[in-house]
């Protein structure tokens, strides 16, 4: 599904968290929202999800104006930094939650729900973990459950908020590769937030560099690295180059 954002603005008290953001995302793209803390990237992500009310502007899912739609109606798959798994449900129940919550009219039969859940667990390489509970899983495993849970509802768009932020470096690298594979396999439009330049430049089809509530540059990783458009972007990338050279 194409995602379009028109002049999106949001204020937190007197502070402008987002200044009239314009962004067009093609169906199936893997987009990174990259920037330091306070840049507005998470706010933008949550605004797309409907978790954050906005003051101005529109969000379009395909041809539909999603701005007035509730979180539930938008059918977004959201993955939180700290997993937000349902502590009291098994892994399988977590994954199938979205399907089980559907209205009777659109809800698949129980056997079908179970089958889909198990299929997704296989996709995220967690077969055999169906009856485990979140507190029995490692961080990396929990995040994979969270992703499977988001995928289960066949979302219009997959949104990930610093999905690997709570994990150690080695797991982070592994999951990065794996996320790219999952994306290529499933083809969902995916937007993820990160402050890690390496992650953004390695994973994304296009990177949206943000600063202080505005977009500095939207480009492919190669172009961002080779032709930074603003001093901020240049400095951001230079820091990365310096870090990897060191």
């Amino acid at each position: 599904m194409d995602i379009s954002i028109h002049k999106l603005s949001k204020r937190f008290a007197a502070v402008n968290a987002l200044h009239g953001i314009d962004l067009d995302i093609a169906s199936g793209e893997l987009i990174a929202l990259l920037g330091p803390s306070g840049s507005g990237k998470t706010t933008l992500l949550r605004a797309i999800a409907g978790l954050e009310p906005i003051d101005d502007g529109r969000v379009l899912f395909g041809a539909i104006d999603a701005t007035k739609l509730s979180v539930q109606e938008r059918q977004v798959g959201f993955v939180f930094q700290h997993y937000a798994l349902f502590k009291h449900m098994s892994v399988l129940d977590n994954v199938t939650f979205g399907l089980r919550m559907r209205r009777r009219a659109t809800r698949p039969p129980r056997a079908e729900i179970r089958r889909r859940g198990l299929e997704l667990l296989q996709l995220v390489q967690l077969d055999g973990m169906a009856e485990r509970y979140p507190n029995q899983l490692s961080g990396g495993q929990r995040q994979r459950v969270a992703l499977a849970r988001a995928l289960a509802i066949e979302p219009s768009v997959l949104l990930l908020d610093e999905p690997f932020g709570a994990l150690d470096a080695k797991v982070r690298k592994e999951l990065r590769v794996w996320l790219r594979q999952i994306h290529d396999e499933t083809g969902y439009t995916t937007i993820f937030v990160t402050h890690d330049q390496e992650e953004a430049l390695e994973l994304a089809d296009r990177v949206v560099v943000m600063n202080a509530g505005a977009i500095e540059q939207v480009d492919t990783p190669a172009m961002i690295a080779r032709q930074p458009k603003t001093p901020f972007v240049a400095e951001f990338i230079e820091r990365r180059a310096a870090a990897t050279a060191a």
């Binding site: 937000a84 349902f86 939650f97 979205g98 919550m101 559907r102 988001a150």
Partner: protein, 284 residues
């Protein structure tokens, strides 16, 4: 969780024993002794007298009234407590601080005043007095008044137990549930409730214990009509003021003491079985 040698943090042995002795002594004198006395005095004239005291008509009526009052007050306050805690912990709205303060009000007000309030509102010379007598509705000196007073003083228990618990748990799981398509009520039932059930049970336990044991507020509102508007605590007082019923007073008291004991046991059981969960859910 790393295990470390706690011996380094311990007081020297004599100090520890002194502290334990003082604590036990204090508990012994102020808690255990009175409770044991209640049972001893209640059974002082034999088991037959004890049984007769408990099956006396007026006493049975008071037991029924206590149970009925609790059966109304506790569910009401549970409903209110859950709703208030949910609103306070999961949402931002104007007047939130005011609500939190109001919830604590019954704790800071003397129980006698709590009862007085209803007399002033619904008594024959109260604000609604004339209107009520016109429509032949009795609130004060009848069940409704007793229920109102009891509900008021046990207002805060469930809410105060749930609010910090739910605040510590945050809103991530609820937000996740919403993105997955669950509406408000379903999110509450499937996601929030399982996370708060032990805290809720604990709050209900405390609310119930207080509802059954409340004296001051109910005393003001009830009119002390034996066989009709005496709850168990009031019945105890009535029996105690009659020299011939001295033993009977302790017999009924022993029932209340038993209630306290059962409440304590359930609370300890809860902490033993789910203590880790409760502590973890509070983010300790």
């Amino acid at each position: 969780m790393a295990r470390y040698d706690r011996r380094a943090l311990r007081e020297p042995a004599p100090v520890r024993w002194l502290l334990i002795a003082v604590t036990l002594g204090f508990l012994g004198v102020f808690l255990l002794l009175p409770l044991i006395t209640v049972f001893v005095q209640g059974l002082a004239q034999g088991v037959a007298t004890y049984a007769r005291a408990l099956t006396d008509d007026d006493t049975l009526a008071s037991i029924r009234l206590t149970l009925l009052t609790a059966a109304i007050a506790v569910p009401l306050n549970t409903l209110f407590g859950v709703a208030a805690a949910w609103a306070i912990a999961k949402f931002e709205f104007r007047g939130k601080n005011l609500l939190t303060t109001l919830i604590d009000l019954p704790f800071s007000v003397s129980p006698v005043i709590s009862g007085m309030v209803f007399v002033l509102l619904f008594g024959s010379r109260g604000w609604f007095g004339p209107w009520l007598s016109e429509h032949d509705i009795k609130i004060v000196f009848a069940l409704p008044g007793i229920v109102l007073a009891t509900t008021f003083v046990t207002f805060p228990f469930v809410a105060r137990e749930l609010i910090p618990l739910m605040q510590a748990q945050g809103t991530d799981e609820e937000q996740a549930a919403m993105t997955l398509g669950a509406g408000g009520l379903r999110t509450f039932w499937h996601v929030t409730m399982p996370n708060i059930r032990w805290g809720l049970f604990y709050g209900v336990l405390l609310c119930n214990a207080r509802a059954m044991g409340e004296f001051g507020a109910v005393s003001v509102v009830s009119g002390h009509i034996r066989g009709m508007t005496n709850t168990m605590p009031l019945q105890v007082e009535a029996l105690y003021s009659d020299p011939g019923e001295y033993s009977a007073a302790f017999a009924v008291s022993s029932l209340l003491a038993l209630l306290g004991f059962v409440t304590l046991m359930l609370k300890n059981f809860l902490e033993w079985r789910h203590g880790d969960e409760l502590a973890a859910l509070r983010g300790h």
